[in-house]
Structure formats: C-alpha cells, structure tokens
C-alpha cells in the first residue's frame, strides 16, 4: 500500500510536484498519467527515496520513507526511467548483485530463474548488458525491480523502447503482478494506462487534475454524448425527420459516407437517450439505419479536457502563445 500526503518538491522557485495526495491499495494498479515534465518521475523518485520531498509524506505499507528508509526501500521494487544497469556485467551477474544488494533471503538460483522466465530474459543471461538491445535492457531493469519479490512495484514508463509484441507481454505481466502487488505505473501513453490500470491519477504541472477509477474517468467527462449515425436516403429528408424528434438539440449532416448514405452527428438534449426514438422514426419511413455509435470521449480527449479545461480551445491558445 502506498500513501502519499501533501507531497511537494521544489527546485529553486520551480514547483516540480505541488501538494499531491493519493493512495494505492494492495492489489491495485495505479496509473500515473501526464505529459512529459508533469512530475511523474519526480514523484516516483521521492516514493523510492532517491530524492527527498520539500514537504509532505510518502508511506509504503505505513512506513515513512524518511523515517525508516531502509525498511521502506526493502518493500519497493523500482524501475526508473532509465534502467539502472551496469553495462560491464552479464545479466546473470547483475541480477546476482542486485540479489545480494537487496539482502534477499529467498533461495537464490530458483528465485532469479523464475524472474528471468517471467520477463523472458533467460536466453540472454550470459550476455553483457552493454550488448543488449533497448528492449532487453528494459526487461533486465524490470527483472531487477522484481528481485526479492517486493510488495510494491514502482515502474516508470516500463514499456518504453519495447516492440509491440513485447509491450503486450509486459502489460499482461504487469496485470498479473498487480493481483498481489501494489503497482504504480507511469506513462504518457494513454491506451497503455487504459489497458492496464485500475485507477488513474492524471498529473499536470505537478498537480493532480484527476484521480478516478479507470472507467469512471472516461464516463464522467463524457456527459452529453453526441451520436454519429449513417442513414441511407435523401440527406434533406432525413435531416428534417431527425430535427423533428423533440429530444434532439441539434443535427449536423457530415458527409456522404457511401453512395446514397449520409453521416450525421446528433447532439441530444441534456440527459436524454434518443437512440430508440431515432430508430423508430427512421424505420417508420423506411430509411435504413446503417450505423449508430456514441462519440464517447477517448482518454486522449478526456486528458486534454482535464489539463486544459476544454478539448480544443486552450490547446490552440497555447500554440498561438508560442
């Protein structure tokens, strides 16, 4: 379990992390989402005791990282942004070193073999870290975090540099680990967080802008969902028909998607479900309804909305500002 309370970190006058608080329960995968430079790595470095906080507290299983750093660190496996590897060692000797460094008490060879199997690096055990590709280095870094089987895993962008197949493997591994570990995972890649995490903390400019269950976050922000439909038949006729439905606020004809088939965007009035009405109206006049989907906000849009307050407006302003 990780408990962060009112954590701040100042670099001179620059607030890298500004009064953030959150909790990650055991068996929960918490996703740390934010653009580059949002303070994700700084927060993780504070949690693992690599750097100090300016104020506030960070507790691992109830142990404050500043009060008893050694006991707290023993409970953490940390994969930093750049895997902390010694390029002059082989993978096996590196992991043995980490094993001894962490004063691990599990049976050594079987424990290390198990980890190598898990992250799929058994076949490079005798190679020098220097000669490994980025993907393998990343996995050796992950293996290092798993040594000693700590209850809490803190992973800073764990899938960077991996190929798509490896990304899927590592994600499923993290999901598996998340069942009996507390995992904090950072990323600026939204689908990744969406795919893996139970809870998402969105951070921007050192502040938390959202802290929700993964599903809630997307749904909560997508109030007034608009619909996209495709209907075969004369554009003006269909539009007239749709506007006639009283729950509908606005209809926009978008384009001709196929020959004779037009696409419309429909904005319903607040809290109205218009899907059945649309179907009934169209079928009564024999206009075939070929597609209907709700424009649920993707996490990308949710994210932009959260950090800028608006999906498009402020982003544009920022660009103009430059």
């Amino acid at each position: 379990m990780i408990e962060v309370q009112n954590l701040s970190k100042n670099y001179g006058g620059n607030k890298a992390v500004d009064n953030i608080s959150f909790r990650a329960e055991e068996g929960e995968i918490l996703g740390f989402l934010g653009p580059n430079g949002a303070g994700k790595s700084t927060t993780m470095n504070i949690l693992t005791g690599y750097i100090s906080s300016t104020s506030g507290s960070a507790k691992i299983d109830g142990i404050d990282i500043l009060d008893d750093p050694i006991a707290a660190k023993r409970r953490i496996g940390y994969l930093p942004e750049y895997p902390p590897l010694y390029t002059d060692m082989t993978v096996n000797s590196y992991l043995k070193f980490v094993y001894e460094l962490k004063k691990c008490r599990l049976p050594r060879n079987s424990h290390l073999n198990e980890i190598c199997e898990l992250v799929k690096i058994s076949d490079v055990g005798r190679r020098l870290v220097r000669n490994l590709s980025k993907g393998y280095r990343q996995r050796v870094g992950l293996a290092q975090a798993l040594v000693g089987n700590p209850g809490t895993l803190i992973l800073d962008e764990p899938t960077v540099g991996l190929d798509p197949k490896q990304i899927i493997e590592i994600r499923s591994l993290i999901k598996k680990l998340g069942k009996n570990h507390t995992v904090i995972l950072s990323s600026h890649i939204l689908p990744e967080i969406q795919a893996v995490c139970d809870r998402i903390v969105v951070i921007n400019k050192g502040r938390i802008v959202a802290n929700e269950k993964a599903g809630v976050l997307a749904a909560g922000l997508s109030e007034n969902l608009s619909l996209k439909i495709r209907v075969e038949g004369s554009e003006s006729e269909v539009k007239k028909l749709l506007v006639g439905i009283h729950q509908i606020k606005r209809v926009v004809a978008l384009r001709e998607a196929e020959a004779g088939v037009f696409e419309y965007e429909i904005e319903p009035k607040k809290d109205e479900d218009v899907r059945r009405e649309i179907f009934k109206k169209l079928s009564s006049r024999n206009y075939p309804l070929l597609m209907m989907k709700s424009n649920e906000l993707t996490l990308e849009e949710v994210f932009l909305k959260l950090i800028t307050g608006d999906i498009y407006g402020n982003v544009k302003d920022e660009e103009e500002g430059k």
Binding site: I51, K73, Y82, P84, D88, M89, F97, E100, L101
Partner: protein, 234 residues
C-alpha cells in the same frame, strides 16, 4: 556493503584497469628497486618507497575515478540509492574495493625487502615502517579520490582533480615554510601528510600519526556520504 565491494572488485578485473594498475605498480617499483637499491648497493628501501609515494599520487586516482562518477552518468546510482543499504555501507564498500586493488599493487614492495634479507641483513623496522606508511597513504589517496569522484559525472575530471588535490596536500609543507604568518604555517605543518609519512619511513610507529591518517580517510569518506545525501536533498 559486501555486495558493492564484490561488484566493484570484479569490475576492476573485468576491465583492464585493475590489471594495468597492478602491473604498473609492480613494474615501476621493480625499476626503482633496481635503480635505487640493487644499482646503488643499498639495503635501505626508503628511496623505493618514497618514489612510490609520488607514483601512487597519480595511479590511485585512476583507480578511484570511475567509482562514483560513472554510476551517476549511467544513472545506475538509482539502483544503489533506492536499495535497502545505508550510504555509509555503499561508500565503504566502494572504498574497500579500490583499496583492495591498491593492496595488490603494493604488496610486492615488502617482498623486495624480504628477498634482500636472504643476502644481507636489513633493517626490518624501516621496511615495515615504510610499508605501513604507504598503506595508510594509499587509504588517504583512495578516500580522497572517491570523494572527488562523487563530485562529478566525468571520470577524467575526477582523476585530474584528485591528482591535483594529492599534489596540493603534498605541497602543503613547502607552502608552510614560505608563509610568514606563524599560526598559518604551523597549522599547515601540523596537518601535513608528508611529515607524518616521513616518520614512518624512519621506522617510527607513532600512534598519533596512525590515527591522523585514519582520521583523514574517515573525513573524506564522510564527505562522500554527505555529497550523496546532499544530492538527495537538492
């Protein structure tokens, strides 16, 4: 601490640096032994040891230069600083690994004396005094080198920086003699490493001198710990 000591020691001998250091020590001391002792027909090895005093001033920084700086550059320090080890253990482990390689390099020196003793009688006290002085001196060089290495991410700066500091420490005596202010020159002389080293070469084991060397080592190790600590709080 033990894990770090073992890793660093292995690292010295997986790269050429450990072999080069030991070979260079044995080669230079061998040449000097031939020139100053065998060539001169002298049984006193003090000149040989004193020559090593200067050679090690340059060699030991080469051993210590990468200890802290390289890790910082490669960001491997994140592993050590987030592992459940104390900073003192970390620094001591690194110091001891450099010291162990240093020992391998200088262990040959008393052997020259022992070889001589088969043919002529030698002054054992002088020999062991010289050796003890060199061992303590090596510790000071290693601790200082480690400290300088913790200040930079660049190995070359670490090496040149510690060589320079070693030189400054050596020159402290000469400096003291030209400073007219009594208090300053006395203070400089009292912390002079060379003066105390000379006592050893005369075969004198003075407890105060031994403690002095150990204190200097401890101070530099402590400073290294502080540098790591400070980096965390920066």
């Amino acid at each position: 601490m033990l894990a770090i000591f073992k890793r660093e020691l292995t690292a010295y001998f997986t790269s050429p640096i450990g072999y080069v250091f030991v070979a260079a020590c044995i080669l230079t001391s061998g040449i000097v032994f031939y020139l100053f002792s065998l060539g001169q027909g002298s049984t006193d090895l003090t000149a040989v040891f004193q020559f090593m005093y200067f050679v090690l001033m340059i060699f030991v920084p080469v051993l210590t230069m990468r200890l802290m700086s390289e890790e910082k550059r490669q960001k491997a320090d994140q592993l050590l600083l987030t592992a459940p080890v104390s900073l003192i253990g970390l620094v001591t482990g690194k110091f001891l690994s450099a010291y162990a390689v240093f020992l391998l390099g200088v262990i040959i020196l008393p052997i020259y004396g022992i070889v001589l003793s088969f043919f002529v009688s030698i002054s054992w006290m002088t020999l062991w005094g010289n050796f003890a002085g060199l061992l303590l001196l090596g510790g000071v060089y290693a601790a200082l080198g480690l400290f300088v290495s913790s200040l930079t991410e660049n190995q070359m700066i670490a090496a040149v920086g510690s060589m320079f500091l070693n030189l400054v420490i050596f020159l402290m005596n000469a400096l003291a003699s030209v400073i007219p202010v009594q208090i300053v020159s006395n203070t400089l002389r009292s912390i002079s490493i060379f003066d105390r080293y000379i006592d050893f070469t005369l075969g004198m084991f003075i407890v105060a001198n031994i403690l002095f060397f150990i204190t200097v080592m401890a101070i530099f190790l402590f400073l290294t710990v502080r540098v790591l600590e400070r980096r965390r709080w920066a």
